[in-house]
Symmetry: C2
Subunit: 313 residues, 2 copies
């Protein structure tokens, strides 16, 4: 099979042996694979794939057809449309995934949407609901509303009865974010638009002091990205006075049972909202597999609304 | 009535008009009133009582007999033994308390124990269970295991199936803390005794970096005191990697409905553990009301195991 391959921090397309599904695993013929911020770090050697996953083939999410079943795999049949978060190896013609990590693709979704769904909707759903406990009627602030996770978080908040405000640095993207259901604002002075019950923090340390100001009593700051820095100053007295919490989360390092539970939760709580039309996957651009390097370049340039997705076949 | 009174940051005993219970309120003849760290701040003018409570009479917890009932008060009868957290005014011969804030005193408790129970057991229970979600089998670290909240937290953890380790600065107090059910250690190098699922932080900012190191995956740092400083540095990347959270809480500033709910929770989940003998209130010393100034001095001197309680009559 052909796959995007990391060689000396460069992306090339190389031939690899076809992977073989083991017990409980499924061989997936990949149709689409979304790009994520972590792919950029991994290419630079800063974020290796967890053990047991391809180390030189990047890609953390995929959608495709079931091509073959390993022993005792019984959730799906050959030809079924499936998608998943994986530890690595998604940007390839074939990938092996444990059946408990796979989700069915709703009929309403085409391949680019399915390939760009798992990582950002799972991340946003886990951070907002499982971690931060966002409830209907509450007010959410999303830092970075135009990105993949941001566009997912805004829609999830709206679809479950919460209000959403989103900071968007580029003025030209604010209309698009507004159409997703958020009040789109500049990052500066965002505390004036609060107080917020939940703040989804994708930027990191420099935002924390203003986040604390902007937080409502009982509020939660959910940190899932630290692109601008990790060492934050937190005023513990303010945290006590607001009975607030600052929490962090990542998906990639979790054990199989955790990832499988999260996949079940997304199946039950998120996929029906795609079937009903309440959610969609905004796609900024698609690239064929052969143009992976250009896709990564586009991702790093920023200024996009939604996902960049590789189309594999 | 006579009451401890703050005059120019000094404590004196003064005559005050007897308070009169309003609708839903109860007049309590106070027998015992525990001292708390916040009393020390309040005496210095740093922590005023919330609106609607006596401003010049300190005291945040009391136990006594029902002396009279206001209109529509129906939970208790004259003569019943009751105890409560109050916004202020506990260190007096009489106090008026809303009946929804009062709890019955278990028969097994004498007045000093009842007067020293509400604040620390409510604070510890709220922080450990309602805020941090401590579960059986988990490992708790208490910073400051010999103080009022520390001794309560250790016993609550043990009584509900969790393990407890406690830092105790004074070596001579470690045996007493061990008898309460904790592994008692020096504060330095406490991370070596982890990882901990929950850390109860009563000291503040200087402890946070080591707390983060000592925390287990999925761990929670519950900050309820910042005596050594409020501005903490938190490594957000470590927070994400451990899927951890840092949270803060206080009881005093909450609205009536919140305080009443918390009192119900302590009635249902904590008081039965006093009736069964699983919990007790360690009393370091008692002082008569007239010697309030000496009691405060004793409190501030530190080096005590458990509560300092004023005996009022």
């Amino acid at each position: 099979m052909r796959a995007v391959t990391i060689r000396d921090q460069q992306l090339v397309i190389e031939e690899h042996p076809d992977p073989v599904p083991g017990k409980g695993e499924v061989l997936v013929r990949v149709h689409a694979a979304g790009l994520n911020g972590a792919d950029m770090h991994q290419r630079r050697g800063l974020y290796p794939a967890p053990p047991g996953w391809p180390q030189d083939i990047p890609g953390m999410e995929l959608a495709g057809e079931v091509a073959a079943l390993g022993d005792a795999a019984e959730r799906f049949r050959v030809g079924d449309r499936v998608m998943a978060i994986v530890g690595g190896g998604a940007q390839a013609e074939l990938a092996v995934v444990h059946e408990r990590l796979l989700m069915p693709v709703p009929e309403t979704l085409d391949w680019p949407a399915a390939g760009g769904l798992p990582e950002v909707f799972t991340t946003a759903h886990d951070a907002l609901f499982t971690q931060a406990g966002l409830r209907s009627g509450e007010h959410l602030l999303v830092h970075g509303g135009a990105g993949g996770v941001g566009t997912a978080a805004i829609q999830l908040a709206r679809a479950t009865g919460a209000r959403a405000t989103a900071t968007v640095r580029r003025e030209e993207l604010r209309d698009g974010v507004h159409e997703l259901g958020a009040h789109a604002i500049a990052p500066e002075g965002c505390a004036e638009h609060g107080p917020f019950d939940v703040i989804l923090e994708l930027v990191g340390a420099p935002n924390l002091p203003e986040d604390m100001q902007a937080l409502a009593t009982g509020g939660r700051i959910s940190v899932i990205g630290v692109s601008a820095g990790a060492k934050a100053e937190v005023n513990l007295l303010a945290l006590m006075g607001k009975r607030a919490r600052v929490q962090g989360s990542t998906l990639r390092a979790r054990p199989l049972e955790d990832k499988a539970l999260i996949a079940r939760r997304v199946e039950h709580e998120v996929l029906p909202l795609f079937e009903s039309g309440a959610l969609r996957v905004p796609i900024a651009a698609t690239f064929p597999l052969d143009e992976a390097a250009a896709a990564y370049e586009r991702f790093e340039a920023g200024g996009k609304l939604g996902k960049i997705v590789l189309l594999v076949q």
